[in-house]
Amino acid sequence: MKTSNTLLITRSILKLVKQPTAPVLGFIMSLFFLIVYNAGIGGIGYLDAFGEKGYLAFIFPITIISLAMGSSSGAGQTLYADMQSGYFRRMYLSPASRRMLVLAPMLADTLSSVFLTGMLLAIGVLFGLPFQFGLLSASGVLLLSMLWAITLCGFSAGVMLRTGKHQSAAIITNAVFPLLFLSTTFLPRELIISQWLISVSWANPVTYVLEANRYLLGGTASRELFLLGLLILTVTALTSSVFAFNSAGRIKV
């Protein structure tokens, strides 16, 4: 990798390490979800609809989703801070790749999200989290987490670059939040009473992220849903990255 690319990525990671508020809050929020939901309504895991692996395997994917939601604004905020100080323009005037100026904070966010997902998985193991395919499942969850993180931080960075407002870096979190409640987040489809909610959940991409993870953990979703989830996340991650790169060309310098 070119030296300037390595430098920019290292700088973004160090920035995140020095100011870890967003990922740490995301992690705490996820841990909170995991503990509270498992303790509060974990008992319904004995119902047949949850399979044999219980409620923990079912609810765990929500912690991964909320983790990236909490930390996805980091890239946008790093870019905003650099633009506010004028330092972004200095880097923009260097021979370094201008796309890497946008990609580096996104990569830092994604790495942080994958690392923290690994920590959540380790905590999950302590709680008795099952892995349908052993280490392969853990790797799959990390891959899905990476694609989800790229999706969120790419859109977050792109929106911030286009609007120039740091508040907009968190707009993606706010946009995704309602989708959590319009999905099979807390209950499988078999236990959802409302027909309209079931219909909406089919059209909600978050559903497929959840189900793909559930296939890997408790095995309560089908292989087809996993593949569909993987495909959807790959497409959204690519779209988000292209959106962020194109936004780099619209920066007012």
Binding site: K15, S85, G86, R89, R90, S94, P95, V253
Partner: protein
């Protein structure tokens, strides 16, 4: 010898509708200390932004150090050094780390970047500030660090847009000693825009006058002063003010 800066019919219109540049033609030779003068909003900063590849022209052609921005903008950025109006400093980093990082971004090895940082810290007399975070520096020291960053990779062409704004007279004097040495001894071409016309008067040999997006005069500073104030031996500032007034009066006759 090919000019160091070559602009041919450069135009730029902003989305707001403002026509910032209207077919600018300009050449700057290697080794010159060239000053671009003009009132606020005349198009000086837009021209500098285009030349430094910060923004794109709408039409026309230009070459920087014989490099074409349409084909190889990165090589232009490697070739030039830029200090624009606003300080561009990461507030959470100190002077030394900023200079080293800048050197590394421009392809210097770790050892070279460290050595160059030491040289510039010494040249710009910010030794006492080297480990202080940039947001804690005084306005003048921020400005010095900002200018030092433009020189890390030893550029052959330097764009200075209002470089001494915020510096005290002593710091300005030291800054100009450094720039003059680079220009005279190392042959670095300097393209300057400044509101301090006494600086242009003292240091620039060639100049251009831009008004309303068009170049109105190109030539030596001496000729400009003679042309505007033939009888008097005034300063560049006096000549500049007289020229702007004459031009505005002349244009008012045709409105």
């Amino acid at each position: 010898m090919a000019p160091e800066i070559f602009f041919k019919n450069i135009s730029k219109k902003y989305p707001s509708g403002t026509e910032a540049l209207k077919g600018v033609n300009l050449e700057v030779n290697k080794g010159e200390l060239f000053s671009l003068l003009g009132p606020n909003g005349a198009g000086k900063s837009t021209l500098v932004k285009i030349a430094t590849t910060l923004i794109k022209k709408d039409s026309g052609e230009f070459l920087i150090g014989e490099r074409n921005p349409d084909h190889d903008p990165k090589s232009i950025r490697q070739y030039i050094g830029v200090a624009l109006q606003d300080n561009e400093l990461d507030p959470s980093e100190n002077a030394e780390s900023l200079l080293r990082f800048q050197g590394r971004l421009f392809g210097l090895s770790k050892a070279q970047a460290m050595q160059r940082a030491d040289e510039l810290i010494h040249t710009f007399e910010i030794d006492a500030e080297r480990t202080k975070k940039s947001h804690t520096l005084s306005g003048g020291n921020k400005r010095r660090l900002h200018c030092a960053l433009a020189l890390v990779h030893k550029p052959r062409l330097l764009f200075l847009d209002e470089p001494t704004t915020g510096m005290d007279p002593e710091a300005r004097d030291r800054f100009w000693q450094t720039i003059s040495r680079l220009n005279k001894k190392e042959g670095v071409t300097v393209f300057l825009t400044t509101q301090y016309l006494e600086e242009a008067d003292k240091h620039a040999t060639q100049m251009a006058m831009i008004m309303e997006g068009a170049i109105r005069y190109v030539g030596s500073v001496k000729n400009f002063k003679q042309r505007v104030n033939a009888e008097k031996h005034g300063t560049l500032e006096e000549s500049y003010l007289a020229y702007v007034k004459q031009t505005q009066e002349h244009e008012a006759m045709f409105v």
